[in-house]
Symmetry: C2
Subunit: 412 residues, 2 copies
């Protein structure tokens, strides 16, 4: 008989980490700290589930409070039993009648849901002694589908269609497992934070290329657009024509500004322009995509499957940057990845989790859903705080082998 | 010299009110209480600003906490000085770099902003000894525009365009002031709460028509669609062909369900169908509007000007139900009303405030923006808790004459 893991107690911890010297800065978030609202599930055994939601420090306490408000939905349940029909548990939490008013499915209450859901998957994977990617790619399609909540997206993705996507992808699955040996490619975001001086960026570019990265990002979106252009030209010049370069405006522009800046920046052949507009503005992105021939990436601030559905329907985005510590955790991430597959839009997550959870999810997306293996964002600033920090070798994430989703912290 | 009102201390109170016997219930929010996160601004004088955000009880404490987090932006300022360029103060609060991560512009942190902004307008109106509607309609257009933050909507409404709308509406303003005497028409939502028995609804219909209302609403969206149809037929039969009837699904349906139910319900000639789908689903509403020839109303859960911009651009909605205790308070409400005017979509607010603030805002919208005076939702359940409860006579809101925005509560 399988051992039972009953969720005895669910609580939250507010963990904040100081960033220094301009690290993490962008055009909108000028002096961030990084913080996790950590959901901890204690069981009748010595294993525990650890889930994260990501914030920039201030207000992290509110997400923690919200985790404790929502925790009653899972307390007392046995993890493997619950995960057999997790889609319905997910829906109960997401649609808790009074908390739902505070969204629905967005903001602090949804961040709290992310932390809880992620902790459930962590406990589930640990209960099987498996890393998340292995648990997910070995799971029979029907069982995977049962962990998802299709409500409100049935007009573009039904349960049978999702099953079909999984079954189609199953055919060449074995061949795609090769990536487990080579590791999943990464790209370096920490080259060009907004508040870094030009000199620091120049030396960062050389360092990151020496360490094996061939793709990197620069923060733009300044009020001084000439500074943006100068630095963008610099990164292209130093990194060379073969390097993959992305520019990230972090929602700073309105539509007329975005059109003008994208026109200028496209001369530098960026792989994408990221978050050019307000993240709710579907029609704005449609208009921008019509006006300028450039690939758009967004998703780090898109809160839920419904808005992702709209962005996918709009045809405006080329890259889907869903973040598992922003949407309702791994369950909603998988659903959004399935929808994205239907629309042939690759998933290139934003890593509020510093890649700890996403390194599993991109392997799953590639192997089990047949998403292309592009690259995963890498941000090193919190690696000393994780028990098993993501390991980068020659610009690639080494496949993680420890049980769970990878979000155990060293100290609580 | 004008007296100065310095905002000495800003804090929040968590006020919750029990609802009984099915009042307030809908298909999604099954057993609500009503609650206000109340922002209180103490000044150097004996007047204070009182602002509200509305929730269904649970989680109201989190909105209160968020109010206290954001309050530092206004503490220490003088109210009339601040309101001269309130658009920039609004933007600073809405874009506070780290709190912004928790939205942006949605969820708990935006509800907190609503309460603070509303308290500022309350203090401003009280400092002039005027009811909000009078302050707003007498304000020179330029000064009104300075209280607004146009960022992210410049592609559909610029500052000069907004000014033009105000100036155009100025021409027949005097004639539209007649409504101050007749009072603004109301409609009765409390006839048909979801959990009310058929008998109670039948007697409510008669009572409300006896008291002078000619327009009323029924909650639908049940899993048992036959119950919805039966009750919809009942309300039409009892109220008669001349009554104005609305059906409200409170986001319960997905697109296929909404198409089918709207097809059935339209035989009963409803004035609108309210919240048929998830409130983020712009393309879903476009599809529904294409499939079924019926007027759609929504907005009570649309969090900000950017999503309202998208809904207006989409052409899918006929009525804009923006709620001043959901979006970022009176400033964002006015901006959304201006956008809505540009698209010729009437504003028929949802009244999380029980109409206390909106009774002022619909007068402003009609007199100063030349929006049609349709009707304002009326919900009586909290009237005994307000110091100056909205006064309904023969189905009309009597024009409020007390200074402020109308959200003073009897006890704190």
């Amino acid at each position: 008989m399988t051992k039972e893991y009953v969720m005895k107690k669910v609580f939250a911890l507010d963990k904040r980490y100081q960033l220094n010297d301009g690290a993490g800065s962008d055009a909108v978030h000028s002096t961030p700290n990084y913080a996790y609202a950590v959901c901890i599930i204690k069981t009748n055994s010595n294993i525990e589930g650890i889930g994260l939601a990501f914030t920039l420090g201030k207000g992290n306490d509110l997400v923690c409070k919200a985790i404790e408000h929502l925790s009653s939905h899972i307390e007392g349940k046995e993890i493997n039993e619950m995960m057999r029909s997790f889609g319905s548990t997910y829906k109960k939490m997401a649609d808790d009648p009074s908390y739902r008013w505070l969204g629905p499915h967005k903001g602090i209450i949804h961040l709290a849901l992310a932390a809880i859901v992620n902790a459930c998957y962590d406990l589930w994977a640990k209960s099987k002694g498996q890393p998340l990617w292995k648990l997910l790619i070995d799971l029979p399609s029907e069982e995977l589908i049962n962990t998802l909540d299709f409500s409100y997206i049935e007009d573009v993705l039904t349960r049978p269609e999702a099953l079909q996507i999984l079954n189609n992808a199953n055919k060449e699955k074995a061949a795609r497992k090769k990536i487990l040996e080579t590791g999943y490619p990464g790209y370096d975001t920490s080259v060009g934070w907004f508040n870094y001086e030009d000199e620091k960026i120049a030396s960062n570019i050389k360092d990151t290329m020496d360490s094996g990265f061939t793709a990197m990002k620069l923060k733009v979106g300044g009020l001084d657009y000439k500074r943006d252009i100068r630095r963008a030209e610099m990164i292209r010049k130093i990194a060379g024509d073969n390097a993959t370069i992305m520019f990230d405006a972090n929602q700073q522009w309105n539509l007329p500004q975005a059109i003008s800046m994208c026109e200028s920046l496209k001369m530098l052949n960026p792989y994408w322009i990221e978050e050019p507009l307000h993240p709710d503005d579907v029609y704005g992105h449609v208009e921008l995509a019509k006006e300028v021939d450039i690939k758009l990436a967004l998703g780090e601030h898109v809160p839920n499957k419904v808005l992702f559905k709209n962005f996918l329907q709009s045809g405006s985005i080329t890259f889907n940057q869903v973040d598992v510590v922003r949407v309702g955790g791994i369950s909603e991430f998988i659903l959004i990845s399935l929808m994205s597959k239907k629309f042939n839009i690759p998933v290139v997550p934003h890593v509020g989790d510093m890649g700890q959870i996403h390194q599993h999810l991109v392997l799953f997306n590639h192997i089990a859903l047949d998403h292309p293996a592009l690259f995963l964002e890498y941000i090193p600033h919190l690696s000393s705080y994780f028990k098993n920090p993501a390991c980068i070798e020659n610009g690639h994430y080494r496949t993680p082998e420890f049980p769970g989703i990878g979000s155990d912290l060293l100290t609580y």
